[in-house]
Amino acid sequence: MLEIKCPYCGNRSQNEFAYGGDATVKRPELNSMISDQEWDEFVYYRKNPRGNHLELWHHVSGCRQWFKVFRNTATHEIIQTMEMKENP
């Protein structure tokens, strides 16, 4: 079980959190022209990297904040956690 440092609450066990996927995916702007490919990339396609991955987690059984986790998917090492507005 991972130990994740919520930027607002501190170190907590993984069972307080929900995983939220790739944090680098950006939703296309509303009311903009979006190609099929662009939309498919956003909705369906995700990389599955072995190694460092910037991802979203949600402190569902805690402060209910979404935040970013920079994590190595092979070793599960968490290099850094940060608020949404920050970057590694």
Partner: protein, 998 residues
């Protein structure tokens, strides 16, 4: 009572008390402090059970968790537990044990015939033999194998015991209380670290309980006692025995089970049987010691043959002689100590040593005591069916692949030693890359991935001096990184015997042209010939050899067999062991009962239960409850002899004719505030929300980004920047997470806050033609007329001093209102409504009637919004705004979503107007078509229409738009029925929606 093999003195048992136990129907005695294994051996019992595949007689082979043979069925106080290891059960009054895997008895076992047909059971026989015909697998092979390879009998009754879970954090977890473990715990604790010391056995000390050593000016066991007492007195230290750390997971999370109850004579009430500890440690010190490695020789599995150090443990710890005429068979010096200890009790042994000589101090000591030593000798075979009675021994030839001469040596036990295997399981689980050390023939921890340090013999330090020095040093270094106290202890002087290197030789040759079995893995009955066969058949990867032969599988996890198996494969492939590699170590290290893993989460504690504020009222009024997620909701209210169908019909009809009240507190409620709230809702919902007037509710539909309908509900504008959203009961938590995601991740620039208020409001729906009259009585000073509170209107009224939010919304299709009051006033309000509604014919209605009412009206719910339907399929396409963008809109242009014959929701009525259509039935054109019969769609919800008094269902079917009036068949293969049906509109009752607006 006389225990023939108990010594007259010595050991750590309490000889003042005798404890009886029953083994296979016969009564025996042991002492407090015994394990079942030591008590059995004290009575001269070696034969415990039959082996897995060949049903060969097997006995106790070791003294700890590494024993792979001593599995029994345990009975105590009408509770039974299968596959219990006799070496791990402490003797208490009232135990009864029975041998497993034998019939009719362990002494005469019919399955033992397998032994004579063993050439039909080679490696991989499962894969080769039981292949055809296929149907035989279910009826013949599988039941036969289950029985023949039987483990114990699973208990049939619920487990009456309690199990607990505990979470703990510490600076340093020390696993194992041998010399290095205690040294590091002392050193770290004195330096101020928060330490947990865990020992799996019932006594601390590890090898210090059996070795003749001194530390400082104390004997080994005295040093243990004093050190543990000191640790236990320190507030920063938690010391636990009977506690097995069995798993090492990410971020230094370890799990440990503690045996709390079974060893107690009179446990206090509510004592948990076992406790599962989740330990998060800043650093883990693994001092798990090492396990003696067996030697391989013909018929090396007979009862009476055991590990040399285990024999010494039985003697030194329990005062038990596992044999009175033993042979000690070794390839190293450590087994000499066993012979010396037995000599001290007056037992003469013969030592067979595969080496040509040894100049170690301990060997000289044995010589001086007059113990007979035969160097360069091996055991070629053994005899004795239920217990070993002699060994065929011989001098090894120069190439060690045969014997120069053979002779028979009578014995009643053989103590074997093939040197030592460090217990690296936990380190390996943690991700440590192991390295093979050729000199000691061991896999040792090498590169750690997490914060763990392996010390003592688990790390290849086989002398006490090294282990103590390492323990004190590492304990200080690791603790000082955390505490920075710089308080270092000095290492006490120690004295121990002299041991030297072992012989790199484990597998004895067979005597001339004989085909005897030489076992490598006792638990899975894997012999040398099986491994040879696997390699001959082309299995190269050690992982493949393991699975093909079952070497090192199951609960034993190869504790004694792994390295011997690797050595054999290496020899066969003419490689060295590190080139072959090792199999993966996986948790759990030893068997863990399922009860321990589950803990208290059983029965009603399996999940949390959510109850509405009016729950007690429902209970008092004969509600029958149904699970709705975590919620308990009234399904119907029982009156007399009514069935579910009768009660729900009565309740639904009463709503259509008079007035009903339904508890809707479980609906998700989300409070939304902030100056961009309307803009946010406009993006979240498919329909427009920007211009929703204050004091108005609006039905809204949400999509996921992939275009599927996510949830629906009503949202009310309470003031300019304040909204009240409702969600379905099932999706309440998901919708909140969804909203938080868009607000925090996608559009953080929006000034909106959302919070769940589900539990803050008690909700009650008042529905039926008399509902306005009832509301008038409830709020006599307020205007509840159609003009004052029109359809989809919202008002705040006062009831006594309670503020009530009143929404004119309807799920039932009748004129209806929903009243919300703060939860604490829920029951009071509900009671008032029941009193005031009495002369209007009010009745409460449950979820079953609620479903009937919504199905009749053609309203969609969870069975239609199942994550696979788009708005069109649910006839909600009118809800999709053409003017604005919203979540999921871009997906709606996908080709498949625009196809003309897409599935669409319809109503379904059986032609006979009598037969209810089971939910989940398929709709087909031709009931008699051969498979696969093209499926047009499925029935999503069914009810008995109280309006028309016949069955009615909703279905989602292909091209549903153009099928009104078509005659189809509803088929339910599960219930084996075919029902002719006609397709009609989904809106069965009041299709124009006049009633809700009346």
């Amino acid at each position: 009572m006389h225990q023939e093999f108990r010594t007259s003195s010595g050991g750590f048992i309490d000889r003042s008390k005798e404890i009886s136990f029953i083994f296979n129907g016969k009564k025996y005695y042991g002492h407090r402090g015994d394990t079942l294994a030591s008590a059995l051996l004290a009575n001269g019992i070696h034969l415990i059970g039959r082996s897995f595949k060949y049903h060969r007689p097997r006995g106790i082979f070791a003294a700890g968790v590494e024993d792979a043979n001593g599995k029994v069925q345990l009975y105590k106080d009408n509770i039974t537990e299968p596959n219990v290891n006799v070496t791990e059960v402490e003797l208490v009054e009232g135990l009864r044990i029975e041998s497993q895997n034998c019939w009719p008895s362990v002494g005469f076992d019919i399955g033992g015939i397998n032994n004579f047909f063993s050439r039909f059971f080679p490696a991989g026989f499962y894969y080769k033999t039981f292949m055809w015909p296929k149907s035989f697998w279910y009826y013949v092979y599988e039941p036969f194998i289950r029985k023949a390879a039987g483990m114990g009998k699973a208990p049939l009754d619920p487990d009456p015991d309690r199990y607990e879970h505990q979470y703990e954090h510490c600076d340093i977890l020390v696993v194992g209380s041998g010399p290095s473990g205690i040294a590091s715990a002392l050193s770290a604790a004195k330096n101020g670290a928060r330490v947990i010391l865990a020992e799996d056995k019932s006594r601390f000390g590890g090898s210090l309980l059996t070795d003749n050593v001194t530390i400082g000016n104390k004997n080994g066991d005295e040093w243990v006692e004093d050190s543990i007492a000191e640790l236990e007195s320190m507030p920063n230290v938690t010391v636990r025995k009977r506690s097995q750390v069995f798993g090492y997971y990410d971020h230094n999370m370890l799990v440990m089970f503690e045996r709390c109850k079974d060893h107690l004579k009179n446990p206090a009430p509510y004592t948990p049987r076992q406790r599962l500890w989740y330990i998060r440690a800043k650093h883990v010190i693994i001092s798990t010691g090492s396990i003696e490695r067996p030697l391989i020789f013909a018929n090396n599995d007979r009862p009476g043959i055991m590990l040399a150090n285990s024999a010494r443990e039985y003697l030194k710890v329990y005062g038990v002689l596992p044999g009175k005429n033993p042979i000690v068979f070794t390839n190293n010096d450590t087994a000499y100590e066993t012979a010396i200890e037995f000599k001290a009790k007056g037992i003469n042994t013969t030592i067979l040593d595969t080496r040509k000589s040894s100049n170690a101090g301990v060997v000289q000591e044995a010589k001086n005591l007059g113990i007979e030593i035969k160097f360069n000798h091996g055991i070629a075979n053994t005899s004795g069916y239920k217990k070993v009675n002699s060994a065929t021994i011989g001098e090894l030839n120069n190439t060690k692949d045969g014997y120069k001469n053979l002779q028979t040596l009578p014995c009643d036990s053989i103590f074997v030693s093939g040197n030592w295997t460090p217990t690296v399981h936990l380190a390996s689980q943690s991700g440590n890359k192991l390295k093979y050390e050729v000199e000691t023939d061991t896999f040792l921890p090498h590169q750690s991935r997490q914060k763990e340090t392996v010390i003592g013999s688990a790390n290849g330090s086989f002398t006490l001096k090294e282990s103590l020095a390492d323990g004190f040093k590492k304990g200080f270094q690791i603790s000082d990184e955390i505490t920075k106290n710089s308080k270092e202890l000095s290492v006490p002087i120690s004295d121990e015997k002299d041991f030297r290197l072992h012989d790199k030789f484990w597998c004895m040759p067979l005597p001339n042209n004989k085909n005897y079995k030489r076992f490598v893995d006792f638990q899975n009955d894997v012999a040398v010939s099986d491994i040879q066969l696997a390699v001959r058949e082309g299995f190269r990867s050690i992982e493949h050899v393991k699975r093909y032969t079952t070497l090192g599988m199951a609960t034993d996890q190869g504790k004694t067999s792994n390295l011997n198996g690797l050595q054999l494969v290496s020899d066969l492939e003419k490689k060295i062991v590190p080139e072959v590699g090792h199999t993966t170590f996986r948790p759990p290290y030893t068997s863990v009962t399922i009860g321990t893993l589950i803990g208290r989460e059983v029965g009603k504690n399996y999940q949390a239960t959510r109850k509405s504020p009016m729950h007690e009222w429902h209970e008092k009024n004969n509600a029958v409850f149904v699970d709705a997620g975590l919620w308990l909701r009234p399904r119907y209210y029982n009156r007399g002899e009514e069935t579910l169908d009768e009660a729900s019909k009565r309740e639904a009809l009463n709503v259509r004719q008079n007035v009903g009240i339904c508890d809707v507190s479980s609906l998700g409620k989300i409070d939304i505030k902030g100056k961009n709230s309307a803009e946010f809702l406009n993006r979240v919902y498919t329909n427009a929300f920007l211009k929703l007037p204050i004091g108005k509710a609006r039905y809204g539909v949400m999509l996921r980004e992939d275009g599927m309908v996510f949830d629906d509900g009503t949202t009310t504008r309470i003031s300019e920047n304040h909204f009240h959203m409702t969600t379905t009961t099932a999706q309440a938590t998901n919708v909140l997470s969804h909203l938080e995601y868009y607000l925090q991740v996608v559009w953080p620039e929006l000034d909106v806050n959302v919070v769940s208020t589900t539990e803050q409001w008690a909700g009650m729906a008042i529905a039926g033609p008399n509902s306005r009259a009832l509301l008038k009585k409830l709020f006599p000073h307020d205007d509840v007329s159609n003009e004052g509170l029109p359809f989809m209107g919202f008002k705040e009224f006062k009831f006594k001093n309670i503020t009530a939010r009143v929404f004119r919304i309807s799920f039932s299709g009748e004129l209806a209102f929903e009243v919300n009051v703060m939860s604490d006033y829920g029951e009071e309000m509900w009671n008032e409504i029941m009193v005031l509604g009495e002369d209007l014919g009010i009745q409460p209605y449950g979820t079953e009637a609620l479903s009937t009412l919504r199905i009749e009206m053609g309203h969609v719910a969870g069975s239609e919004i199942d994550g696979r339907t788009i708005a069109y399929d649910l006839s909600l396409e009118g809800m999709l705004s053409q003017k604005k963008d919203f979540i999921g809109k871009r997906s709606l242009t996908r080709k498949a979503f625009a196809e003309k014959d897409r599935e669409k929701i319809v109503g379904v009525v059986p032609l006979d107007k009598k037969t209810s259509i089971p939910e989940g039935s398929y709709l087909v054109e031709n009931a008699k078509a051969s498979f696969p019969n093209p499926k047009l769609g499925h029935v999503s919800a069914s009810c008995w229409s109280v309006e028309y008094d016949n069955p009615f269902s909703l279905a989602i079917i292909k091209d549903g738009k153009n099928r009104k009036g078509e005659k189809l068949f509803a088929v339910s293969p599960l219930k084996n029925i075919v029902i002719p049906v006609v397709i009609i509109s989904q809106h069965y009752v009041d299709p124009e929606g006049k009633r809700v607006r009346s």
